[in-house]
Symmetry: C2
Subunit: 327 residues, 2 copies
Amino acid sequence: MTKDLVLAILKNSQGYISGEKISKSLNISRCAVNKAICALRKDGYIIMSSTNKGYFLQNQSERFNLGEILTLLPLSYAKRIIFLDTIDSTNSFLQKKHPNLEDGTFVIANEQTNGRGRLGRSFDSPKGKGLYISLLLRPDCVGENLTEITCRTAKAVSDAIEKVSGIRPGVKWVNDLMVNRKKICGILTEMSIEGESKTVRNAIIGIGINCNHDKTDFSEGVREFASSLYIESGKRTNMSFLAAEIIKSLDKLRKDFPNNKEEYLSFYRNNCITLGKEIRTIRKGEELTGTAEGIEDDFGLRVRLSDGKNLVINSGEVSVRGTDGYV
Amino acid sequence: MTKDLVLAILKNSQGYISGEKISKSLNISRCAVNKAICALRKDGYIIMSSTNKGYFLQNQSERFNLGEILTLLPLSYAKRIIFLDTIDSTNSFLQKKHPNLEDGTFVIANEQTNGRGRLGRSFDSPKGKGLYISLLLRPDCVGENLTEITCRTAKAVSDAIEKVSGIRPGVKWVNDLMVNRKKICGILTEMSIEGESKTVRNAIIGIGINCNHDKTDFSEGVREFASSLYIESGKRTNMSFLAAEIIKSLDKLRKDFPNNKEEYLSFYRNNCITLGKEIRTIRKGEELTGTAEGIEDDFGLRVRLSDGKNLVINSGEVSVRGTDGYV
């Protein structure tokens, strides 16, 4: 952690910075600064030192670690970001640890060995290819607000992706992010609710963004439906940049909720690619088809069914009719 | 565990039973039977043995342990009941362990050192006074069914209490069980929900029944609002009996859901003491008062507000007006 903070300070300083200045701004000993410099050098960072001037970090090729991310954020974020090299699942990590973590804690992993998607599906999370990040929220709300939180997340993540890659994804209701009809980001929100009062105890939002995958990085069953920012734009994503933007954007969501609804709602209505499409959903075991016509004020999907009736969907999965079949 | 199974067999056998018969019916070695007999004797059970006839358990004063509970249930329940002498909270235990436990697992504790109630409140759980039991469910349902599950629980627990104590509690919406306007049972349901599809991953139902408390066993702030089966009936509850009935009743609930709704709904409508009363609730920060008029088909509470409008309540806490103030 100290190492990451020192890296952030070195990267953000113009020219040389003295060990004393680093030690003062982090409120740590000179000895701790020295240790951090050694550790960074061991990691391959080239740090010049001069007896009078202090330390200077030479330009580096891009890397993905906590220090690089902190370079792009106020340092006060440091205590709310956990960076792991490998983990089963960032959501599972927060599930286990949340009693001891504060509202607004982020967990990022370089790889997930057991990444999870919706309805018990798995989520491919190879090392260095995607951004795998989860956020712990303790929102002051009841279960009825679940759809709104998941829909707000779609905007928050979409904003960050656009800022870094220039690509604005479309939102397939409820919160799949799509580019050219393929999924580039999966979101899995897991909430703990008190059954009697419906109070939401905590919500864990897990996000997996396909960044630098080639087509062959996807397993066969997935390749047809998934894409990456690299495949769609031809550009590699700097994952530290993307992580920092996602953190800023989700932190805004956390502070906004339940206010600023109009901002999220109007984004959602403008970017929801499900609207106007033929859709299919399962309701009480029955398959229903119809046309998605609008987004309600609570982010429910308003559908005109084949039999002419209207239906508002707030739960379950919705498939959108493509050229052949539903995706 | 073997000890508990052997106890159940001894208690349920007419007269002497041979070690061989015990070993066969549990599919364990004769040596394991001998060890279990020794352990039971160490616990204070008086077991006669005769070379030709086998073992015979002398009548005992009532005790509260897994073996006593299993005596009253099919032995197949053994693998789904965990009995703990002391634990922080039976719900917390299931929260931590549920990935490795099967649907329908029960946890019972002799005492809870950090018993939890709704909205972060604590629940007094002194040793030997109350029954503290939690059930793990993996129901096939979505978040909209939360109210129904909690209301069905009120009936299941109420049935068991009546069977053992003769007292039929009233149900204060949503699922407080009341006798003479005092609470004798608290229920806390904690559910994990997938935010996107609203699928319920698991529900943990925690139940605390005040059985053998004297008035002085309640802490001062609680005494005014809480009572026990002993205070109300003058009779001590055999907690093993009550535990077995609760287990049977909740297991019926588990198998019934989502069917047999009419049985639970009609019970609920007949026993909900909130109906006809003046109530108070908080909605979006605003205090509302009105008269509870009915239970909807989804177990929502239909209220006629002071301004004449109708409102159906599905979340939040509802207070009922007593002689002075709301409880």
